[in-house]
């Protein structure tokens, strides 16, 4: 295939056809009029063609549409830079070997699911013995001392505990995202840490299915991990980043 990276388009069955499937509901009665509205709405998104292939009354005056658009706008992918976590990923074994070479003590990690969020499976996956999907959690990493505070911890409590335990890294999990509650909680926590004057003493790491590194950086965290991350990603990051800070402080 001869790709022009400056003009990448969706691919349906021919390079550059710009084919996209969409579905949505309009608060309009089902019929020819709302179908035309759906078609035009999709055209207004920059498609050269739009075909409403399904329109169905879903009750109370709403209509659900499935539309196929063609000739979608293109995107220049040469200019896209993604703020990815820059450290490399070591296996658990590697982490276990390298940690004592890098630090003369165990690194202390404190984690919690803050706010009213009670979804602990994610933070447990990263921190607990058992881990997730065959990847053990930080409790099985010899270079770490790991404290998982669990669910529905207030930002105040988390900070208090982190200070008391002299945490090197604080892990914050957020799964519920409706009305952007996760952004509010994460922001609140980071502001409290800053107000406490301890921001430079701990790495702040956010995680959850709707979190990525870019978002975490934006919110003032040092790193963020989304769906599909495992303890080794987090351990590798903490080791390498703290080591970098230690050595560059010395230099």
């Amino acid at each position: 295939m001869d790709l022009n990276l400056k003009e990448i388009k969706p691919y349906g069955d021919t390079l550059g056809d710009g084919a996209v499937q969409l579905s949505f509901t309009l608060p309009l009665k089902c019929g020819a009029h709302s179908t035309e509205a759906a078609r035009r709405l999709v055209l207004s998104m920059g498609f050269s063609e739009a075909e409403v292939v399904n329109n169905v009354d879903i009750g109370e005056g709403f209509t659900f549409f499935v539309v196929y658009g063609k000739g979608c706008r293109s995107i220049d992918v040469t200019t896209i830079e993604v703020a990815q976590v820059k450290t490399s990923v070591w296996s658990r074994a590697e982490c276990n070997t390298k940690a004592p070479e890098m630090f003369d003590r165990k690194l202390i990690v404190v984690g919690a699911c803050i706010g009213e969020d009670a979804h602990t499976v994610g933070i447990d996956a990263i921190m607990n013995m058992k881990g997730f999907n065959g990847h053990y959690g930080l409790e099985r990493y010899s270079g770490f001392e790991s404290h998982n505070l669990g669910a529905q911890v207030t930002p105040e409590n988390l900070l208090e505990k982190a200070i008391a335990l002299k945490a090197d890294a604080v892990l914050v999990s957020q799964v519920v995202t409706q009305r952007d509650i996760h952004m509010k909680n994460l922001t609140q926590f980071v502001e409290m840490v800053e107000a406490s004057g301890k921001r430079n003493e701990m790495l702040l790491i956010a995680g959850g299915p709707r979190i990525d590194n870019a978002l975490a950086l934006e919110l003032g965290y040092d790193a963020g991990f989304g769906r599909g991350s495992y303890a080794e990603d987090v351990a590798s990051y903490i080791l390498q980043e703290l080591y970098r800070r230690k050595t560059s402080a010395l230099a």
Binding site: T25, G59, E60, F62, Q152, V176, Q178
Partner: protein
Amino acid sequence: MTTSLGLDPKKIADLRKTADSITEKVRPLIKSNTTLTVERAVLRLMGLDGTDADGVPLPNVVVNHLRSILGGGIAIPVARGMLHHNLGINELAEKVSAGEISLLENTSVSRTRAEEFLTELVDEQLETIENNRKTREKMISDLGEGPKPWQYVIVATGNIYEDAIQAKAAAEKGADIIAVIRTTGQSLLDYIPYGITTEGFGGTYATQANFRHMRKALDEVSVKQGRYIRLVNYASGLCMPEIVVMGAFERLDMMLNDSMYGILFRDINPVRTFVDQYFSRMINAFSGMIINTGEDNYLTTADAIESAHTVLASDLINESFAKAAGLKPAQMGLGHAFEINPDTEDGFLMELAQALMLREIFPEAPLKYMPPTKFMSGDIFKGFIMNAMFNLAGVWSNQGIQLLGMLTEAMHTPFLHDRFLALENSRYIMNGARHIGDAVSINPDGIIAKRAHHVVDETVKFLHEVEFDGLLKSIAQGRFADISRTMDGGKGLAGVIEKNDDYSNPFALAMARKTGIGEEVTKWI
């Protein structure tokens, strides 16, 4: 030729006996304590509602006011106050709130007088609830209801007005049951918010006004559709019995109400939970509501293959507690779920085995079957067919309550059309395979039968262990859902009050008489 799995009836009877012995050992704990929310529920049953000038719910005001003497039960002191001041319960509570009246002072009203007064009040109040029950029964007999498995969907926009619109749309497209999911964290509030609400996260506040708004919307659509649409809320957390009272007054039809959910998943103190649970269930039983238990939740933290027996074990414990509180089998929406990793070879057969097994063990209960959630992902297309297989297992094993899976489970609370698609999915599958259970038999030496026998055997072992250690110790050992909770830990412990010998809860006895548990109730409450 038989569609059964050939489970051994003696084994099943033994399982039930073990479960009864387990719950029996918790009985003394339940008997000897009351809680803040139980007493608030009594006040609500007596007719108290509303908030004070600061927005504090009046039941909380009065209970807090009488905190020091709750061991005797709140009904008598409040009845005395009403008689003494010659005030309705709301006016009385308002004056208590304003500091104008203290109910801690001695009154001239004799206990007997108060008891007589209460007997009348209790009858009156229970009649209201009974009338709701009759209205429900009449609507069902007039309008009819959907065939089982009932199609159960949730609304959870956070805004009760949007919820109502979406609930009606769902009912028009085939939903039989609407559950309004509660906002994140409501279960940890030790009070019930008041009035219509429009701001929740991942759910909508459970308030009596919201119940009423939704009930009205569903009654409208029931009539329009010629099919009674049931309404569900959540009796869990720190206000379990109060929610049930509100539901009884607003004609809700079902309540999520599990004997251990709060302990395990909300870290609520075990004693608090068991006490709250018993009284809640009495009200459920009396008002004709169906409870839904929460075994599905185990499988969100534990593995669905390894821990299948804990689901059955918990169903048996839930059943035993429910029976003790007067619930009939037809009111027991015992829970389970379709949560096996979709990559598992023959995973569907194992799901089916478990669903058929529960059907065979609880032939009269309208089992509540939960859809795949844990392994749902952003791949909405795959998720949609996982839901289809779940629906197939549901119709095959003749479930009572099918909680429809949403293709967007991994992303957001359901959009309007997610719910529509779920209903369409179920309609297609259940119609197309309606009589599959009659058309095929389970081979006794096949994967399905073997799996079911295996789970039963594991449960026998497991329940005997729990019986040996006792339920509370077993919970502390993390035997359920891989979560450990201790008797003196968890939220709401401070709200547990030891009863004294004078303790009186006039509603308990009255309801017990009507649900047929009679004097038995005094062993529990």
